[in-house]
Every structure is written in structure tokens, then in C-alpha cells.
């Protein structure tokens, strides 16, 4: 892509990186040669992933300079320019894929992001999928693919834009040997087709690294050595890379390393069976995950479980732990049938699941202590036990760190430590060493052998590493839910007459699949590379509608895959409008009152009847005395109490001044105010009647106030509330729909696509917003229709004006959800922030109940700035007052203006790089 003569595809000078106090990279100087396959090797947590994410531009450079493709990657302009030429596949199976989207949809999404037209996308997708064998799985959701296929899809997504630099972070970790072979064959063929492409790979598999052109050995944030595998061998005088690497390590690290020796299992006469499974079967719908699996594992045995990804290993293990109830068949642990409610057995078992599943919000130490306590390790033993685990798994340096900050390998060790903290008699370990570096793996195995041989702990383990499989006493090969064969590793090799267990394994699998997995010779891997890579729209700078739509269609697909959510939004808002329209009532009626009548004359009874006859008041049993009044007012039974003095009737007839005392419950001020008004009004009416009846004269009022209630002549709450409820619902529901969209990508890892693809922050946000605006408008139409038909609230003004304002308003609401999503780091906080940021201002400060002009203090300012205020005005104006743009213009502009404000705020808070 450059005319200058390049000597390195990436050049690092004095690069350092820290996460708070931890030094991840320490003064790295490195030149990565172009056009070849470069491997990064080293134990876990030495900074391999950090280095790759810096080169990919996914993480901000802290110190030093990183020059990638002839420019400083720290420079935003250069990053924008070269990012269409870099492809980055992060660590973890399918980390940057969208699990609910199909293979095809994932590829289409990435294709659009890089600006390819429909025909171009079709061609590329077909090409890549033919080459990788994904062609027949185009409709399968990415989340349902096996690990190996996920990685192939990840690779396809990375290759869709013909990158010049391909960065792969441990692409084959957790992938079975067969798929791993296929994966590397694929890379080789792609490189043949595109010789100019540079590939940088981090790997934990030394045998893989053996095939690379050039290697970087790293330790503790520094580069130990660089060179071709042969050079490294020569330098250290070793003949395997694993040995070479160990030789390169500093003396202190190397010390602990010894060859793993497995003493044979002594089978006594008193053979106890730890695990027995008979015809275990698990069906999910019409898919049989495990098909009549049977095996027996003796106490103290190390039993290995091998098989390709998705063959049913994990499911079998889950059934044994009681996490899943078997559809058929039975299993026994220590002679007792597996029963998920049996607490006693659980204490004897330690389990480690495939995915990291410890509390990421607790530190390493807290995780260990918590699990020790939950397993009821005696309190006095806990510190010693924790120390023991820390020492065995070498966790001392990370004891007070949070797991999320740790590399995969160390997290795996922590999981193992947690599974063993209560010294179980049986360990069920699902790929415990996946992603763990060779030295730590050997240490781990020494420990396991120790446990099995000395403490007679039974170990049931699944693995993808063949050298681990050979250490097991017996292994089972599993494929497509069936156990193919169970025997000692050496015996399996002998039966197949293969050179190694790996060969035997592949041969068994191929026999089971019934076909040979030779590389598809026909596959013309990207041979027809006709298109000039630089022509892609991805290079175009500035705003791209295509990239917006790319995110929109992705978001829309996700919405479509979860129809419950959209239905909930539409139906739920209708139900809410119904409840609120009828329920929120500004009328104050049905007020309870009672009388303390000391007089008990006809006059006093007449006075009471006057009140009781009104629709506003409901009379309760008379009050006996002051204590009774006090009690009944306190517990809320009475809102109004009236006391009529003794001799009321007599004194009145005599013409003496008499007083009636009334108490209103002031705890709800608005209600009290209205109630006082009613009482005073009725008191006046009664007086007038009395004067007329007794004196025979009609006192002429000196003035009459004619009250006209406008816009809502019957003063019905419904008529006033429905137009106000619509803006309320249109704020809260769209905001909640978008509230999780960004923070979810942060939690699940796909945010990396924002970091490393040409999509800009604004494009990203707008793209996410569009489908929800559409849904919001649908919601608006539904609510308006319901208002007019079901509630009979006439729409007097311009519908068009209402619709346009609603559109802008919904854009604000969804923008607000995104805004809340950008500054929070957990979904919990995002929901809460959206909730308090939308509900409180809408309900309290936007004039739904009290007009904004009557509010005071900060609340009033919030009301004046919050667009809901203006939307309520527009909605009421259009619904009840038949107003048009001329009258409501003053309210329309603030709504329109709020949209860019919130979007800019959200864009500014969103980061384009990890820090």
C-alpha cells in the first residue's frame, strides 16, 4: 500500500503499557518483518495480547511509538487510513462475532462495514466460505457453532476486506486438533494466494509455532529473543521449541520446571468405582447432544475425555455434576445415583466449567475464600488452604487483582484452584488447560498426578492437548455424542498402528465422520483475487451511510431474533396507557370524613347531611371522642374530621356566633388543598340555604364567577392524561430499548469491532439507534390510534406535526438510552441510569402533573431543558387544543435541538480505543 520500501510491517520503539499499577509491556523495541508469518510465544500474562491490541490500534498507546504500515498508529488520522488494511481477531472463541446472528449475517455485517457492495459481498462470502467449509452452515447462528467453526468464521470476518496485516490472538486455543490442523492449512493457503500479507499470531501451542517463519519470544512484558525457529533452536542448543523457550527463560522461572512423570496406577483389589455412567443420553429438542454414553472410572484414576468441539463432552460432564438432568440413562458418583438436590455429594466433587465462570467482581483471593467457605472448609483452615492453592497455582502475584484484568491462562489456573480448594475426592475438569502456557500446564499436571496417586483423587478431564492425553490412565474418544472407544492411550496408538496419539485420534475421527479431511484441493482460496484491495469503500473517510446501515441491520436482526422484546414494548405500552389513562386521576373525590357531633340536634345533622350528600365525600361512623379522631386520622381512615360544638343549633337560632372546627389530613398537600376548597364551598352553600330557610330572604351574592373549563370541558382526567401519557411512554420505552446496546457489547466483547474497523463513533451510535427509532414510531402510531379509538380522545390538531415531533422526540429518547450506555460499565448501572434519567424528569418535571412554570429550584431548570416538557406541550396542544405549527413552534425547536445535543454527548463519551 505504500511506495516506500518497507522493512517492517510494524515497528515498536520503547513501548510501555500499564493497567493501573500492573506493567503489561516494558520498553519493547521490535521490528516485525513484512510478508511472513510471525509468532508471539510466551507464557500467560507476559503481554502478548497487549502487544497485539496495540498494533491493531484497538488499544491506545501509552508510552513509546508504534509504527504500523508506515505511520504512527497513535495518530487518529493514520489509524483511520490504515484500519481497513488491518484485520484483528481477538482472543477467545468468537469474541468479536454476534452469537444471535447467522454465519451469513455476520459476514454481511463485516462486509458492509468495509463498504463492499452487495455483489462484491456475495462473491467474497462465497469464496471464503467455500474455502473454509462454512458454506453449508450459512444459516446457523454463530453462537451455535462449534469452537473450531467459530474461529473459522472469525477468520473469514477478518479476511473479508483483504487486509495487508492479519493479527490473530491465540486463534486455536480451545479448538480440537482436527479443526486446528484445518485452520492452519487454511491460513497457509490464504497466504499462498496473498503472498504480500503479513500475519502476526500469538499462540500457546509450541508445535504450531514451529511452523512459523519468525518468532518473538516474550516474558514479563519484555522480548526475550527473536528469530526463525531454527535460529532459536541453534541459539539454545535444543531441538524442540518448547525446550528452546524454557531455555530462554530466566533462571528463576525455569527452576520450577521438571519433566512430567506419570507413575502407573496401582489397581488394588478393593477397587472402588468413582463414576459410572450407563447409557447417558441428552437431547435438546430433536438434537441429541449425548447418545448413550457409558463408562466406568475407578477411584484415583485420571480419565481423559477427547473429542472435537461440540461433540458432547461438556454436556456429559454437566450431567455428571447434576447441572443437567439426563434425558435417558443413569449415572452414579461413588455408588450414589446423581441427584441434583443431593447436597452431600456436591461437597465431594470439584468442577471447573469450560467458560470462565468465577466472580469477576471479586479479587482472586476473595474468590478463593468465598468458595472455601461455601464448601464449608473449617474457618481455621481457610487461610492455610488458600495459601496452599496460591502456592500450587502460582497466584501470589495476582492475589488482589480482579479476574477480568488477568490473561486467560491465569484465569484458568484460578478456576482450577477454586475447584480444588475444598479438597474434593473427584475432580471434573472441562478443558482446564485451554489457554494455559506449557510450563504452567506441566506444573498443573504434576499436581494432578500427585493428587491422583497420593490422595487417590479421581480426575475426569477433557482436553485438546495430545501430550496431556497421553498422561491419562485411560481416555475416551467422543464424537457426535457417542463414545467411540475407551482405552489406555498406548493401547489406542497400538490398535491403530499410528505414530502418535494425535494421528490415532484423527484416524478414529475420520473413520467416524466417514470421509477424509484432506484439504479441499478444489478450494481456490481467494485465488481469484481480482479486486484491487484498496478500492473498497472502507478507505473512504468521513461519514458513511453504509456503515451506519451495517450496524442498523445488525441491530434490527437482533431485535428480530428476540421478538419478545419488541412485542413487550408495543403491547406493554398499550397496557400501560390503559392503566395510566384510567388510573391517574387528578379528581379528588371519595374523601372519607366523620363527624364528632356534640350537639346531635336537627341543625347539626342537617349540616352533616349536606356534606355526606356530595359526591366528593363519603361519611364514616361518627367519631366518639378526640382520641378516636386522632387515631382514625393517623391511620389514614379519615381525610376530614368535623367537630360540631355543643348547643350548636340553639346558639345559631339565638343568633350567637358559633364555630365549627374541621381538620383536613395534610399529609398529601394537593389533596388537602382541594378538600379544604370543597368543605369551604359546601359550608357557604349550607349557610345560604339556612339563611334562606330561616330568615326567608335570599342573600344576594355581590358577584358571580363564571368558570369555563377550556379544552376539556368536562374536566375529565382521561382527556388530560392520555395526551400526557404518550410522551411519557415514548421517552421511557425507547430509552430502555437502547440502554443496553453499547454496554452489552462492552460486557460481551464485540465492542472490539468498533475499535478496529473503519466505523466511526457517530456511525456506530446512529446505526444502533435507527431500528429503535423505527420501533418507537410504530409504538407512537399504535398509542395514537389507541388514544383516538379506545379512549375516545379526539385528535384535534395536525397529526403530521405530532408525528414529526414524535420522531425527533423518539430520536432523543433512544439517544438518551445510548448516552446512558456509554458512560456505564455494567448493564445494571445502564438500566438504573436510564431509569432515573428518564422516569424522574418525565414524571415530575415535565409538566404532566404540575406545569413547569409552577415548579421551583433545580427541578424547574431540569423541566425547562428536558425535551419531554415540550413534547407534552405539543401532544396536549395537538390533541386537545387543535393547534398547529404556528402556535407550537416554540416547543418544536427545543425538541429538534435536543437530538444533536444528546448524540454529540454520547459520541464524546464513547471511546474508539480501549484504554
Amino acid at each position: 500500500m505504500s511506495d516506500t520500501v518497507t522493512t517492517s510491517v510494524a515497528r515498536l520503539r520503547g513501548v510501555g503499557l500499564r493497567y493501573r499499577k500492573t506493567v503489561a509491556l516494558d520498553g519493547i523495541d521490535l521490528d516485525i518483518p513484512p510478508g511472513c508469518m510471525v509468532g508471539l510465544i510466551g507464557p500467560d500474562g507476559v503481554g502478548k495480547s497487549s502487544l497485539l491490541s496495540l498494533i491493531a490500534g484497538a488499544r491506545a498507546v501509552q508510552t513509546g511509538t508504534v509504527t504500523v504500515l508506515d505511520g504512527d498508529i497513535g495518530d487518529t488520522r493514520h489509524r483511520d487510513r490504515v484500519c481497513p488494511h488491518i484485520a484483528y481477531m481477538p482472543q477467545g472463541l468468537g469474541k468479536n462475532l454476534y452469537p444471535s446472528l447467522s454465519v451469513e449475517e455476520n459476514l454481511q455485517f463485516f462486509g458492509r462495514l468495509f463498504g463492499h457492495g452487495p455483489a462484491e459481498r456475495r462473491r467474497r462470502i462465497d469464496e471464503l466460505c467455500t474455502a473454509t467449509g462454512l458454506q453449508s452452515f450459512l444459516d446457523r447462528p454463530a453462537g451455535k457453532l462449534s469452537g473450531g467453526m467459530k474461529q473459522k468464521l472469525g477468520l473469514c470476518c477478518a479476511l473479508i476486506h483483504d487486509p495487508d496485516l492479519l493479527i490473530l490472538d491465540e486463534p486455536t486455543t480451545g479448538v480440537d486438533p482436527l479443526s486446528r490442523n484445518q485452520f492452519w492449512d487454511l491460513i497457509t493457503r490464504i497466504r499462498q494466494a496473498r503472498p504480500g500479507m503479513s500475519v502476526v499470531v500469538a499462540t500457546a501451542y509450541m508445535e504450531e509455532a514451529e511452523r512459523f517463519d519468525w518468532l518473538v519470544a516474550m516474558n514479563a512484558g519484555r522480548v526475550l529473543a527473536t528469530g526463525t525457529p531454527a535460529e532459536l533452536h541453534a541459539q539454545t542448543g535444543t531441538n524442540t521449541l518448547e525446550a528452546a523457550f524454557i531455555a530462554l527463560l530466566p533462571e528463576t522461572v525455569r527452576q520450577g520446571h521438571r519433566e512430567v512423570i506419570v507413575p502407573p496406577l496401582e489397581v488394588g483389589d478393593d477397587e472402588i468405582v468413582a463414576i459410572e455412567a450407563r447409557d447417558l443420553t441428552m437431547r435438546f429438542g430433536n438434537f441429541t447432544a449425548v447418545d448413550h454414553a457409558s463408562f466406568r472410572i475407578r477411584r484415583g484414576e485420571i480419565f481423559g475425555f477427547l473429542g472435537s468441539n461440540g461433540c458432547g463432552k461438556s454436556t456429559t460432564m454437566k450431567m455428571l455434576t447434576g447441572l443437567l438432568d439426563a434425558s435417558e440413562g443413569e449415572a452414579w458418583l461413588f455408588g450414589q445415583a446423581v441427584d441434583s438436590s443431593d447436597i452431600g455429594t456436591r461437597r465431594r466433587v470439584g468442577y471447573m466449567s469450560q467458560a470462565f465462570s468465577l466472580y469477576s467482581e471479586l479479587t482472586v483471593r476473595q474468590n478463593l475464600v468465598l468458595h472455601a467457605r461455601l464448601y464449608h472448609v473449617p474457618a481455621e483452615q481457610i487461610p492455610a488452604r488458600v495459601d496452599e492453592m496460591v502456592e500450587r497455582f502460582d497466584l501470589a502475584s495476582v492475589l488482589d487483582k480482579l479476574p477480568d484484568a488477568l490473561p486467560l491462562g491465569i484465569r484458568q489456573r484460578l478456576s482450577l484452584a477454586v475447584a480444588m480448594v475444598h479438597k474434593p475426592e473427584l475432580l471434573i475438569l472441562d478443558e482446564p488447560t485451554s489457554g494455559v502456557d506449557p510450563i504452567a500446564r506441566d506444573a498443573f499436571w504434576r499436581l494432578m498426578i500427585d493428587l491422583a496417586r497420593k490422595d487417590k483423587v479421581t480426575i475426569f478431564i477433557s482436553t485438546h492437548f495430545m501430550n496431556e492425553a497421553t498422561r491419562c490412565d485411560r481416555i475416551s474418544l467422543m464424537h457426535a455424542g457417542k463414545v467411540l472407544v475407551t482405552d489406555e492411550p498406548a493401547e489406542l496408538v497400538r490398535q491403530r498402528g499410528s505414530a502418535s496419539l494425535e494421528a490415532a485420534f484423527i484416524s478414529y475421527l475420520e473413520e467416524a465422520v466417514g470421509e477424509r479431511h484432506a484439504p479441499d484441493a478444489a478450494a481456490p482460496v481467494l485465488a481469484a483475487e481480482t479486486s484491487a484491495p484498496d478500492e473498497g469503500g472502507g478507505r473512504r473517510r468521513g461519514f458513511s451511510l453504509m456503515r451506519v446501515l451495517s450496524y442498523s441491520s445488525r441491530e434490527a436482526l437482533e431485535l428480530q431474533r428476540d421478538p419478545v422484546r419488541a412485542t413487550l414494548a408495543l403491547v406493554g405500552s398499550l397496557i400501560l396507557m390503559f392503566i395510566m389513562g384510567y388510573g391517574i386521576s387528578m379528581d379528588v373525590d371519595n374523601l372519607t370524613f366523620a363527624v364528632l357531633d356534640h350537639d346531635r340536634s336537627g341543625t347539626s345533622r342537617d349540616y352533616v347531611l349536606n356534606l355526606a350528600g356530595s359526591r366528593y365525600f363519603i361519611e364514616r361512623d361518627p367519631i366518639r371522642d378526640h382520641a378516636d379522631m386522632d387515631r382514625r386520622m393517623r391511620n389514614g381512615e379519615l381525610s376530614l374530621a368535623i367537630e360540631i360544638p355543643p348547643n350548636f343549633g340553639r346558639d345559631l337560632r339565638r343568633g350567637d356566633q358559633v364555630q365549627i372546627a374541621a381538620w383536613v389530613d395534610g399529609s398529601m398537600p394537593a389533596r388537602a388543598e382541594t378538600a379544604s376548597g370543597y368543605v369551604q364551598g359546601m359550608h357557604q352553600t349550607w349557610l345560604a340555604q339556612m339563611v334562606r330557610a330561616q330568615l326567608g330572604v335570599t342573600p344576594t351574592p355581590s358577584v358571580e364567577v363564571e368558570i369555563r373549563y377550556r379544552y376539556n370541558p368536562d374536566v375529565e382526567s382521561l382527556q388530560a392524561m392520555v395526551p400526557a401519557v404518550i410522551p411519557m411512554l415514548l421517552m421511557m420505552i425507547p430509552a430502555m430499548l437502547t440502554a443496553l446496546s453499547v454496554v452489552r457489547e462492552k460486557e460481551l466483547g464485540s465492542i472490539i469491532n468498533l475499535y478496529v474497523t473503519p466505523v466511526s463513533r457517530l456511525e456506530f451510535l446512529l446505526g444502533k439507534q435507527v431500528p429503535y427509532i423505527v420501533l418507537g414510531m410504530l409504538n407512537f402510531l399504535l398509542l395514537t390510534l389507541a388514544a383516538v379509538t379506545i379512549f375516545g380522545v379526539p385528535l384535534k390538531g395536525s397529526f403530521l406535526l405530532l408525528a414529526i415531533c414524535s420522531l425527533a422526540y423518539i430520536a432523543f429518547a433512544t439517544g438518551f438510552g445510548l448516552f446512558a450506555s456509554t458512560f456505564t460499565n455494567s448493564q445494571l448501572a445502564a438500566i438504573f441510569a436510564t431509569m432515573i434519567g428518564s422516569m424522574i424528569p418525565v414524571v415530575q418535571f415535565s409538566g404532566i402533573i404540575t406545569p413547569v412554570s409552577s415548579l421551583e429550584g433545580v427541578g424547574r431548570h431540569i423541566g425547562e431543558f428536558y425535551p419531554a416538557t415540550y413534547m407534552v406541550m405539543v401532544s396536549r396542544g395537538v390533541f386537545s387544543k387543535a393547534l398547529g405549527f404556528a402556535d407550537l413552534g416554540f416547543a418544536v425547536y427545543p425538541i429538534m435541538a435536543s437530538v444533536p445535543v444528546i448524540l454529540v454527548a454520547a459520541t464524546l463519551l464513547l471511546r474508539k480505543q480501549a484504554r
Binding site: 447441572l323 364555630q659 395534610g666 364567577v705 430502555m736 443496553l740 433545580v858 387544543k881
Partner: protein, 376 residues
């Protein structure tokens, strides 16, 4: 038994830790229980506060001027004097809620005993002001006219029966008292549902629930742990908010027993956290939970008697809402905090909350047990 309780305790402490590791969430909680309570309390006007009024004075007499001068803050904004032609446009734009028209020859007619009429236009879409306000306006006009007339005609006797009306528990009807406490009550419900529900979904999404299930821990323990941890956080926040914000900063005299209120809140939290857990078991993930929560929270807050009087709502809404714990919580809290009611007065509500909470707990525990295996 000790081991049993210790599990519940440990799991609960773990919940507290996870909250501590989320600084944004902590800040938001502090904000809702401090600034937000303060804002809500101070924003709410006294029942009729600064109501915008306009006067069309076609009489321009001393009496009409006297009437115009009778409208002043805090109940009303100083009236804007307009012409007849401005009435419609001003009301349409919502510039004022009331427009009072005093016809020409008003003073003359009053003095002649002809009882002339003044016209009051009220914007009935602003329900809350419309009702109270028109009563106020009528009374003010009447008082001014009576006062004016009495100077010209003697012998106008005062009414033979005087009504002495007092407001109890909040003599000046200060809205801040009401607003502040209601905001805390709303927050208690909102926060407890979110914390309990989201914590469970989080465990599911991060796969940690799977780990709990292989450990010697029962679903009941997991649930009780979430309930106590959530309740603890919310109660502490409510207590601090009541004492520091409401009492100290807002100077609201709380007559009732805060301890009793906290006890009722505890019962209520038992119900709402169960509700949150139930919602978490029903929804398939955080996005669904979030939406479900909006749909539940809005009616809970608007229709439990905290925003508008419970007894004035339509019968069927009242019936539906009495199944919600919030209605009883609001009513009991109002009794305790405003009216200093004791246990003897609020035990029916406490019983109702306990029964509803118990049912919700048993129901969501059953649901939790049923779905827990599917969560892993």
C-alpha cells in the same frame, strides 16, 4: 444450621462486593437518594404555586384594580394584563392557566347590587391547577368584592357560622415534606427490584450460577442471600437519606418513628426483591428484563397513591393495585412518617405487605428452582 446461615451470609457479602466494584452504579445510588430527593422535594410547588394568570380588565375601575392586585406570589404569578384578543392565543400557547375577564361597568353593577359576572377561563388540561386554582380565584374575587362593598354599605353582617379549618400533620401544606418522602419511597422500590433482578441475570450471563449449582448451596440460600444483600443496601440508603437529606438538609420535621418505617420498608423489600428475582427468571436476558422492569415500575410508582390519591382512582384500578405491595407500603409509610402512626394503626398494611411478600417469595422461589437448571 450454622453452615446453612453462613452460606447465606457469604453469598450476600459477595453481592455487596460486586456492587462495590461498580463505581458508576454506586454514584447513581448515592445521587438518587441525595440530590434527586432534594431536587424532587424542592421542585414541587405548594399546592397552588406561581399559577400563571392573566386579567382582561375592561372596567378599569378601583374595584377591578383591587382585584388584580389581590393576585400575587406565592399562589399566583403577578397577573399579566392583556386584552380580550390575547386570551385565546395565550391559553393555546399555555402561557397562563387562568384568564379572568372583568367586564366593563363591573364596579357600577356591583355597587348597584346587580351581581355582575366575571368570566374565568381555565386551561383544564392542567388538571392539578385547574381545580384548586379556580376555587382560589373565586374566593379571592368574592373576598375583594365583599371587602370593597362593605366600605360603601354598612350593616353587612359576618356569617353566623364560622368554619375553622385546619390542616393536620402538615399545617402549612408544605409540598416539600410530601415530595421528599415519596421520592425515597419510590427509590426503595425501584432500586430493590433492579438490584435483585439484575444480580441474578448477571450471574446467568457470566456463567457463575453454574458454579453455584455444583456447590453445596441450595436455590433458597441463593435467593435469601440476594434478598438480604439488596435489602441491606436499600435500607441503609433510605435511612441515610431520611436523616441527612430529609431531616437535616430539607428541614422536614419527621414526627413518626423512623425505626417503624424501616421495619415496614424491610417487609416491603422482601416483596420487591422477590419480584425482581421473579422477573429475572421470566426474562431471557438483560434486555428483556430491562423492558419488563419499565413496564412494572411505572404503574407501581404512579398508581400506588404516591402521586395521586389512591381513593380517587377508579375502583378496578384500586383493586388491581391493592395486589401490589407498593400501595400498602405507600399508605403505611405516609401514616408512619407524616401522621406519626404507630404499629396499632398500620398493622393491616404491614400484614398485607407480609402476605404479598410471602406469596411473591414462595412463587419466585418455585420459579427459580424450576428455571435454575436451564440457566446454567
Amino acid at each position: 444450621m450454622r453452615g446453612y446461615l453462613s452460606n447465606v451470609y457469604r453469598l450476600g457479602v459477595k453481592e455487596l462486593w460486586s456492587l462495590r466494584r461498580d463505581p458508576v452504579m454506586l454514584i447513581l445510588i448515592i445521587y438518587t437518594f441525595s440530590l434527586s430527593v432534594y431536587t424532587s422535594a424542592t421542585a414541587m410547588p405548594e399546592s397552588l404555586n406561581l399559577a400563571p394568570i392573566a386579567i382582561v380588565d375592561e372596567d378599569r375601575s378601583p374595584l377591578s384594580q383591587r382585584i388584580a392586585q389581590a393576585f400575587y406570589p406565592p399562589h399566583f404569578l403577578p397577573p399579566s394584563m392583556i386584552t380580550v384578543n390575547d386570551v385565546d392565543s395565550g391559553m393555546d400557547a399555555g402561557l397562563f392557566t387562568f384568564a379572568l375577564t372583568i367586564p366593563a361597568g363591573f364596579q357600577r353593577d356591583v355597587l348597584a347590587g346587580r351581581a355582575p359576572a366575571v368570566q374565568l377561563n381555565v386551561d383544564a388540561t392542567r388538571m392539578s391547577q385547574a381545580f384548586t386554582g379556580s376555587g382560589y380565584v373565586s374566593r379571592i374575587v368574592n373576598d375583594e368584592v365583599t371587602g370593597f362593598v362593605s366600605r360603601y354599605r354598612d350593616g353587612v353582617s359576618t356569617a353566623p357560622v364560622e368554619l375553622v379549618l385546619r390542616a393536620r400533620f402538615n399545617p402549612n401544606l408544605t409540598e416539600a415534606w410530601f415530595g421528599a418522602l415519596m421520592q425515597i419511597i419510590d427509590n426503595v422500590t425501584l432500586l430493590s427490584i433492579i438490584l435483585a433482578g439484575a444480580a441474578l441475570i448477571r450471574e446467568r450471563e457470566h456463567g457463575t450460577i453454574e458454579h453455584l449449582l455444583v456447590m453445596p448451596v441450595t436455590p433458597l440460600q441463593i435467593m435469601v442471600a440476594k434478598v438480604w444483600a439488596t435489602a441491606g443496601v436499600v435500607l441503609l440508603a433510605a435511612f441515610l437519606s431520611l436523616t441527612l437529606v430529609v431531616r437535616a438538609a430539607l428541614q422536614v420535621p419527621i414526627e413518626g418513628s423512623i425505626a417503624l418505617f424501616l421495619l415496614i420498608a424491610l417487609l416491603h423489600l422482601f416483596a420487591t426483591t422477590s419480584m425482581g428475582i421473579f422477573m429475572a427468571t421470566v426474562s431471557r436476558g438483560m434486555p428483556q428484563f430491562a423492558l419488563l422492569m419499565v413496564l412494572t415500575i411505572i404503574p407501581l410508582q404512579m398508581l400506588s397513591g404516591g402521586s395521586t390519591p389512591f381513593e380517587s382512582m377508579p375502583q378496578f384500578v384500586q383493586m388491581v393495585m391493592s395486589a401490589a405491595p407498593t400501595s400498602h407500603f405507600v399508605s403505611a409509610s405516609q401514616a408512619v412518617l407524616y401522621r406519626a402512626a404507630g404499629v396499632e394503626a398500620v398493622w393491616p398494611q404491614m400484614l398485607a405487605i407480609t402476605v404479598i411478600g410471602g406469596l411473591l417469595f414462595v412463587f419466585s422461589l418455585a420459579r427459580f428452582r424450576k428455571t435454575i437448571s436451564r440457566m446454567a
